[in-house]
């Protein structure tokens, strides 16, 4: 689909980026699950870049304690649906794309339906149980999944596309043993969310990413980064290695 005049001007600064394929992006559909500190940021940059169709999923309402990091919202959005408000904000940012708002919790009953037809899934979740479900859906539907997570000064980003790569459950098959309120400050999920969007755009346009089969570990307190690799787990409960 050729760009219209408004789109050509809107994307003028990114079109010359090496390898950029705006028309390919226009034809992509991405599911973003969780619209908080991670998902709010990745959704914003995917919308700004012109990904043609975003499907936003989050059952939560905005709370005051979200506003230290969830910069898609304001004080005027307290008690309002994150999915609905995110859709409004992103539609105002880029009215050239299609944005769906699903004010629902991802469950095993609806996950396949929400992910169906998507080219990519972006993880903006805040709990490991839901990530395990998202990983299962990614495997079942063969849709790549960009994982992201934060806790204090620690961040993690991974790209999973089984059977071509190991899946998330190859390394983390079980949720953590205890429930706790996870400490988080805004700039780190901002960083991780931006990286998820960057990897996502690269994958959508080229079909590849250098993070395939690897995970980036961010230690923000020492500002050190480790890129680690891992093998498929032959005992993995999801992909079976």
């Amino acid at each position: 689909m050729a760009l219209n005049d408004s789109e050509r001007e809107r994307y003028r600064r990114q079109l010359p980026v090496d390898g950029w394929n705006q028309e390919r992006l226009q034809n992509c559909k991405v599911l973003i699950v969780g619209l908080g500190g991670l998902g709010g940021i990745s959704a914003t940059y995917l919308a700004a870049a012109g990904v043609g169709h975003l499907r936003l999923c989050d059952s939560d309402k905005v709370e005051l304690s979200n506003l230290n990091r969830q910069i898609l919202y304001s004080i005027n959005n307290i008690d309002q649906s994150k999915a609905v408000q995110a859709r409004k904000r992103l539609a105002a940012l880029n009215p050239e794309i299609t944005i769906e708002a699903l004010a629902e919790r991802l469950t095993d009953k609806n996950a396949a339906e929400y992910a169906k037809g998507c080219d990519l899934i972006i993880d903006g979740l805040d709990n490991q149980e839901s990530r395990i479900l998202l990983n299962q859906i990614s495997f079942n539907l063969k849709i790549p999944f960009i994982y992201g997570a934060v806790d204090g000064w620690q961040g993690q980003i991974g790209y999973f596309s089984p059977p071509f790569t190991p899946c998330l459950s190859c390394i983390m098959p079980e949720p953590p043993p205890s429930e706790r309120t996870i400490p988080v400050f805004g700039a780190l999920p901002g960083m991780v969310g931006c990286m998820q969007a960057t990897i996502g755009l690269q994958y959508l346009m080229s079909g590849q990413t250098p993070l395939s089969g690897k995970m980036l570990i961010i230690n923000a307190d020492t500002f050190s980064f480790d890129t680690i690799s891992y093998d498929r787990n032959p005992s993995c409960p999801v992909c079976g290695g």
């Binding site: 620690q154 390394i171 400490p183 230690n219 680690i228």
Partner: protein
Amino acid sequence: MKVFLKAGGQLRTMIKPDVDHYTRLVEFDGEKTLAEILRLLPLDPAYIAFIYVESKIRDLSYKPSDGQTITLQPPVSGG
């Protein structure tokens, strides 16, 4: 043999670092698996999401070499 255990987040205080803010030196005779090294501390593996040695994730049966750094990654699940 000696290895360096490195941990961040919740795990940092659990390993009782003595080399720097994040690292503990562990010395032992002969070879040991990661599971056996954790028992020396002692540290329950349930608190660890995964372990990597020289940028590769390893399971608890892995036997590190002398002088290697073993990084214990805590669960990270926020968003």
